[in-house]
Subunit: 346 residues, 2 copies
């Protein structure tokens, strides 16, 4: 019996997760779900973020489905660092997969007919996300604040290996995105690690691209990208951009994975808790539903995952541009799941 | 007599600077120019990047006009760090101004009719650009590489003050872009510094935006931005994006300024040396020509600067989408400069 830990979280999290879990049960009725009340509400009530006992319980699940973490009434970053990043680091989610594929019918941001079909493989446990750094003379005119990006050959290697592997089952193109002309130490490590691994993957065409140039190429010629491997912070920026270009964050799903598979993966929409629209039933649950599909793929339930992917694709194709209530989008996708695919899965 | 230090640099640098200097002389015939041969050629011939004597000579000019620095035959970053960044740091260019304004006739990247009219005020002497960091056990499986982002209240304050001032003579909107939910030390410094300064500028509407969210808003609703203040690295990424969205890097100019005006400012196109098209006479010199206009504005020669701005605007409006040789674009802009504005300057 598969056991999923569900963390609805903050803002629109509970709304989109509600639809996601119902979709999950539609394709996989026997999967068990247990709910964890983490986020602003629990923090205000108990002062707790993610305590070791809760983390331990979560660990004993096959996967985690998360809505969103973050609330404007709590000091900036407290929940994000104390819950979301804490979980990514504690469960060694060093691989963060963020695919973007333009779906027919989805909103188009770019002029022309450029389609995106790419996968960002973002490092999840290093770079400027480690919490290293500090501050001196805080609050005085002489304040100094540092942030340290920590990068290891071990960490970069295991991330790049995943990216090469993904490229071999896609279009065999891998773009390494970093900033070695300025970030000399980390950039050199990334460049050398990629060049050495490339020898083992002669069928993958490897390209090094400066992160600033990547911004440019993503909007002018996104079709040139297949797999992008990049660091934690660059990946954060790039994937908000690719999500927007590929139809909006309303459609962008992501997977946080421990490559050794010792810890459960965490699956979540790329979007945040969107407090400005929370509680109004207007958030798009599609990204959360597609995160369920990513989760099922990861758990080996490919048939069930494909059913959801296909239902979403058919739904988007017929959706139109006006926005729908959360509930209605969820229902429409579920009814397509129930009635089976309209077009044969490929 | 105004004296300009001209550094053509690498790749397409000399080609675009050639047109830029001729345009400068068209509007300001008495301005003196002295050339400095810095870049790959000089480095290969002499082993030198930017020596103290040359820097001292450059210092005794009213401004610097630079083409591009960077060459694939020299180890990544050597020239960029040894010449370009060296100059920005030595001349305390803490303010990096990168305006984007969609010009009628310019290529459009975004669907719909969104126009950009924004100014990025990027910090230029702090953040992850300081060269702080290091590496341990290089070349072994246990390699560790760090990059340290250094931020000071002094540095952030002087940058933000410039951004507030610029906002007061524009549309009175300032967006502070950082990542305080993850980069807690630096982010908190930026947030507090902005909030305290905001009290002194009650007529400026201040907005804090996460850098990842900025990626999204820039492509979905760029019109919401007026002035953006951000750190060195985030500014690097954002301005490649805004340049692309505003008509391409072929049109993007930038100014590196020491706010105290003790040192000459450096004016350069946002684009790089583009070795792939160098020497073929096909690079667009417009960004270099607009950098001359930025320089003249900075030197108080507003009439001359406006003449160039207007000539470029008229040229773009009539240019058409097919690409022209470097020389031809330069000539066409100069002939408009010579014949005076077609439409009255505003
Ligand atoms: C909420 C935040 C900590 C997180 C990140 O920066 O990784 C988010 O932006 C994301 O991309 O998942
Ligand atoms: C060439 C490089 C060092 C430089 C930077 O990163 O600042 C460039 O990208 C820029 O934006 O001017």
């Amino acid at each position: 019996m598969m056991k999923i830990a569900v963390i609805p979280g903050d803002g629109i999290g509970p709304e989109v997760i509600g639809q996601a879990v119902r979709t999950l049960h539609e394709v996989a009725p026997t999967v068990e779900t247990s709910y964890f009340d983490l986020g602003a509400r629990n923090y205000r009530a108990t002062g707790r973020l993610l305590d070791p006992e809760t983390l331990d319980e979560i660990r004993h699940h096959d996967a985690i489905l998360l809505g969103a973490i973050g609330d404007p009434t709590v000091p900036a970053g407290t929940l994000e660092r104390g819950i979301l990043l804490e979980m990514r680091f504690a469960l060694d989610h060093h691989i963060n997969l963020r695919p973007t594929k333009t779906m027919p019918g989805a909103p188009r941001v770019l002029a022309g007919d450029a389609n995106l079909d790419l996968l960002v493989v973002r490092e999840g446990t290093e770079g400027p996300y480690t919490g290293n750094g500090g501050a001196l003379r805080v609050g005085t005119p002489h304040e100094v604040a540092t942030e340290v990006s920590v990068n290891t050959r071990f960490g970069v290697d295991r991330l790049l290996r995943e990216a090469f592997e993904r490229a071999t089952v896609r279009r065999h193109r891998l773009t390494i995105v970093h900033k070695p002309n300025v970030l000399a130490f980390a950039g050199s490590l990334w460049t050398r690690a990629a060049d050495e691994l490339a020898v083992l993957y002669p069928d993958v065409e490897v390209d090094h691209m400066l992160v600033d140039a990547a911004m440019l190429h993503l909007v002018t010629n996104p079709a040139r990208f297949d797999v992008i491997a990049t660091d934690n912070l660059f990946g954060d920026l790039i994937t908000d951009l690719t999500s927007a270009l590929g139809g909006g964050v309303g459609l962008a799903a992501s997977a946080n994975i421990d490559g050794s598979r010792r810890n459960p993966g965490m699956f979540e929409p790329v979007h945040g808790s969107a407090p400005d629209i929370a509680g109004r039933g207007v958030a798009d649950p599609t990204a959360a539903i597609l995160s369920v599909a990513l989760m099922l793929h990861h758990l080996g339930l490919s048939r069930e995952a494909n059913t959801i992917d296909q239902a979403v694709q058919d739904h988007i194709a017929s959706r139109g541009q006006e926005s729908c209530p959360t509930e209605q989008i969820g229902e429409q996708i579920r009814s397509r799941v129930a009635s089976g695919p309209l077009t044969p899965p490929h």
